[in-house]
């Protein structure tokens, strides 16, 4: 048990950039330098991609050149397809994910409040989490057809189980002595929930939300491919039908960028403002 925290400090100690002393010549501001440093790998990838297409001349349906991929993005943006589809996908994940959080956290808290209840539901939740919404997609298609609702149900289902499960296990791992300490101060039941159980379970809840949204995002892409009611996944699938590999790659880049946007704009701040500030980070 005592060795569990071992990886942490050593990692931190070695993560420090070694010897970033003042170098020769004018020094860039730190933030700009960090930007250059982190974009360097992507520029390198672009260079390798470009070199591969110029040297090997693969067919455009196999691998278009970076320039061709960039050109293909022009009309997609100009005709409004890309912005429309991107917003559609973002709206879906926001709605499905938001609903999953709103339902999943209270459900998890309820199940986690009782030891026997959580023991009873552990295999159940694990089983249905492993199924994922994608497996249910054909079934949901039978129920709701090729509609917006089908995609929503799939996202909700996929994101819900990790959130419920992690909230429940998070609550079970809060040391009871924390509550005892507060009870000794005369705290009531509601105060225990807001001051002990909820913050104690929070790191685990956040892990659940991150995992749920990540699974949900992928289920969304798969759902859009199959259902075909717009969205980035549909763009990919449609482009494949017309053998437009350049558009597929553009769509993938957008998926990556949107995920980074979701992660940096929502999931990470959520973690920062709660868990890290309280020094509860697990990793």
């Amino acid at each position: 048990m005592s060795a569990r925290s071992q990886p942490g400090p050593a990692l931190l100690a070695r993560e420090r950039p070694a010897g970033v002393g003042p170098g020769p010549g004018p020094t860039l501001p730190a933030s700009l330098r960090a930007l250059v440093r982190s974009s360097l790998p992507f520029l390198l990838l672009l260079a390798v991609w470009w070199a591969a297409t110029t040297a090997l001349h693969p067919r455009a349906t196999v691998l278009p050149s970076p320039a061709a991929a960039a050109r293909a993005a022009g009309p997609l943006i100009a005709e409004g397809i890309l912005p429309d589809y991107a917003t559609a996908s973002l709206k879906r994940i926001a709605f499905g994910g938001g609903l999953a959080i709103a339902l999943g956290v209270p459900a998890g808290l309820l199940l986690g409040s009782n030891r026997l209840l959580s023991v009873a539901f552990t295999p159940f939740l694990k089983f249905f989490q492993s199924l994922s919404g994608i497996a249910w997609l054909p079934m949901v298609l039978v129920w709701f057809g090729f509609t917006e609702r089908t995609i929503q149900v799939v996202i909700l289902y996929t994101a819900l189980f990790p959130i419920v499960f992690n909230t429940m296990t998070g609550l079970r791992t809060v040391p009871p002595r924390l509550a005892d300490g507060l009870r000794a101060l005369g705290a009531g039941r509601w105060r225990l929930v807001t001051d002990v159980w909820l913050p104690g379970a929070l790191p685990s809840i956040i892990v659940g939300i991150r995992l749920g949204i990540a699974y949900g995002w992928r289920a969304l892409i798969a759902g859009e491919m199959v259902v075909g009611a717009g969205g980035i996944g549909f763009l990919l699938f449609q482009s494949r039908s017309f053998q437009q590999t350049a558009r597929i790659i553009d769509g993938m880049v957008v998926i990556g960028l949107l995920w980074i946007f979701l992660d940096a704009g929502f999931l990470r701040p959520l973690e920062r403002y709660t868990v890290e500030r309280w020094g509860l980070v697990q990793r």
Binding site: A3, Q6, R16, G19, V20, G21, P22
Partner: protein
Amino acid sequence: MDDGGGCELSARPGPPALARERTPTGVKIQIIALRHEYRADDGRQLLALDGVSFDVSENEVVTVVGPSGCGKSTLIHIIAGLVRPSAGEVWVDGQPVRRPGRDRGVVFQELAILPWRTVRRNIGHGLEIARVPREEREKIVDRYIELVGLRGFEDRYPHELSGGMKQRVAVARTLAADPKVILMDEPFAAVDAQTRITLQQELLRISVLTMKTILFVTHSVDEAVFLGDRVMVLTRRPGRVKESVSVPLPRAQRSWDAVNRDPRFLAVRDHVLQSVRAEVAS
């Protein structure tokens, strides 16, 4: 990655023959005009050691004591071959030190045994690397398990042991590899006071029993005087040898009870204490 062979090769041209002559017989570790500069995390250049020279004879236990930050750990790392000095030379058993090697065993300050090996496999690790046949290895390991008092814990993993027991494993691992000299970098700094006293007594007993040449670095004056035939006092940074003090009582006759009643021992301890204190205060 055969370190022994590499050393031999690189030792052939030039100075070695000369230096080997220079090394007096019976001297195991020879440190000549060692100087070490390094860049700290904040980018400043720091001089850790400056003009450090001394010898350690065969079977001798030399302890090095000094204020924190005087480069004691750096000294061990340089002799171990883990750090290349800015200037100066280190010779061990007539060979120049260039990289880590089996001839120099090191017991580290922090926990350096591997969590994924049992006590037995940790202690036998050096022998395993040296490709000692299994049967012989087991025999040697058994002997050292007995010596450091870990009988009954052979098949435990480190996380199941107390801090003192873990450090015993580290000591046994170094002994089992049968190095020519043993370097110890504050090995008992992280254990509780009670365990530390036990470990010091045990190390004393083991050092007498195995007749190993040991260089032991510590910030504790008591520990340095208790364990050493000689105590080297280092100055504040940059570390230089301030003085070398011989400890009167033979190691074989020491125990914490005995030394606390011996006026000659107490006088030496007070002398070293004053010497180190002067460095901290100045």
